[in-house]
Symmetry: C2
Subunit: 352 residues, 2 copies
Amino acid sequence: MTDQPRTPSPTIYDVAKVAGVAPSTVSRAFARPGRVNADTAARIREAAEQLGYRANPIARALSTSKTRMIALMVSDVSNPFYSELIRGAELAAREQEFVVLLSDAQESGEVERETLERVLPVVEGIVIGSSRMSELALRTIAKQIPLVILNHAMPDVPSVVTDNRAGMRAAVTHLRDLGHTSVTYVAGPDASWTNGARWRAMRDAARELGLQTRRVGPVAPTFEGGLGIGEAVLAEPVTAVITYNDLVAAGIVASARMAGVRVPADLSVIGFDDILISRLITPPLTTVAAPIRFMGATAVRNLLAMTQGAKPTSGQAYVLPVKLKVRGSTGQRSRKRTSPALGTTSVSGSAS
Amino acid sequence: MTDQPRTPSPTIYDVAKVAGVAPSTVSRAFARPGRVNADTAARIREAAEQLGYRANPIARALSTSKTRMIALMVSDVSNPFYSELIRGAELAAREQEFVVLLSDAQESGEVERETLERVLPVVEGIVIGSSRMSELALRTIAKQIPLVILNHAMPDVPSVVTDNRAGMRAAVTHLRDLGHTSVTYVAGPDASWTNGARWRAMRDAARELGLQTRRVGPVAPTFEGGLGIGEAVLAEPVTAVITYNDLVAAGIVASARMAGVRVPADLSVIGFDDILISRLITPPLTTVAAPIRFMGATAVRNLLAMTQGAKPTSGQAYVLPVKLKVRGSTGQRSRKRTSPALGTTSVSGSAS
DNA sequence: GAGGGTCTGACAAGCGGTTGCCACCCCAGC
DNA sequence: GCTGGGGTGGCAACCGCTTGTCAGACCCTC
């Protein structure tokens, strides 16, 4: 009930005065419970209570460098994939009373770098979801501060990725089982490591399973990205496409509908990630589901372990399992859209 | 355990030594450009460059209390509505080189309060998107620190809301024009101010335009929430529903489809907000579009103005305009699902 | 040439905790 | 009674930067 708008918060000095002890004793009463006499501690606690004392995290951080904050950098906050990721990260951080500094890199390595530089002195560790920076830059940062990167496996920086290879193989196998003999990959951003990994995985799986491949893009990893390239995709006699992510897949599906191409009768579409939207569109999307929230949580838990002295998991990346969810967007290969040329020149590989 | 040679960052003392000046001069060289001689400043800048000096925001904050951080509290990060909001807030914060501390209240007033308490000493201001706390609690916080709340108009706390009344009126008018004589509201969380505002607005608009009203819920503001209540909604002979938000609407649409009820032939559905998903589902959702990203940005800009001494916009809330987007989920009232009882007891109001 | 301004840079006192080190008290143990 | 040691609390030096204050240098002006 003060009339003063800006009452400065009480400090340990105030508490010390009220409790009749030295400031350092107050500090210890909170930080090192056993260090001070129980009675004294009680008295201090009472004084603190009465004054409404709250430790100032900034002051504490100045001498200890423990801010209990971590930075989370994503390339686009409004991408539903990241929403889920953020959720998982937030939860895991909260578990250990850490707080998350969120930054949006706006799909730009430059912004990413700059922002990171700004927050670096304030946080105890950094999680980067899908970096657009160079590996060199990432390595440099990892040298200065605990860092975990997502969706980008690097030998010398702790990372969490999904099993793109297995996921892609499941997807391609599924298509082959439906009779498809070729598949088109709609690529995401060139700067995305995941994009490269998925493309290579698809090519390899297709080769092994005897399907032809084609690649289009890159496109922005958004619904609009998929929508925009739809026409180009359909210009060729494709019967199946796999996309960089679900958003792009949704765009392709929408584009196909506008062009009068039926999904899945004429065209099968498979996405990646399994965001909520995949279940909501018509037809619901067949997709390679990633444990997105768990990824975020895993990254943060690892990061926090590192800040507490754990050795960074050198060498291997954490590879999280994925699962092909077959829904309505894939079906038997359409005769109609199969060009003889593509259909017959199928590479060696045997069926089944 | 860890003998990491974590090289400490250079400080102004290091720079001062190299440049041959006092630390305070270094500080001023950066903070108050005109205050030091241009030559000296150049020398300092050079030394800083050479050492790779970066000001430590924490140390700075300790004496100035300027952390250049704001807190953003949302009730569920993974809700697409908030993703957009966060995006807008992030952008606006970045404009002024502020950084965002994101917290997820997990739809709980308790978590919200607790978290806020934790971050309060660290940030210069707070934006709360859809609080689940009491007005008293909000007022208490507003007294301690600049605060802007979203989706909750309060006379004594600066707030940003959408024009629910106008939006709802447009929605109801649209339904009436399609021949509907009654409308059901599917309610969101009781703790949501917006929910109350929308329901009241609908009731008022319906009364004025001569439609009967019904209310069901509350449900969680998610797709699952809508899906779960679909059956209950359809148990009665409704021809039109308006939902708390788009996610719930999408759930209703999905539920209707499963029940064999056609949208919009048998049932018209209108959502609120216009998130991406609304355009993607089949049929695309008629919805009251809010400038979500702009809301986030507006809140942050106002907040930052306050931190720079601007008087909080006492009294009125910022009311942002909305727009009814008519898409495929609304249509002419269906004879089939109209109960004689409801259909004929339409209230006095004349048409148009 | 003295008085008075304007510039510049240095000094030192914070900001609010943390922590190494020391002093003192008290109680055994010999 | 003296000594040793554990238990407690205080002192003071930071952590890195900001800022009020002041003194010296330099430049005018009369």
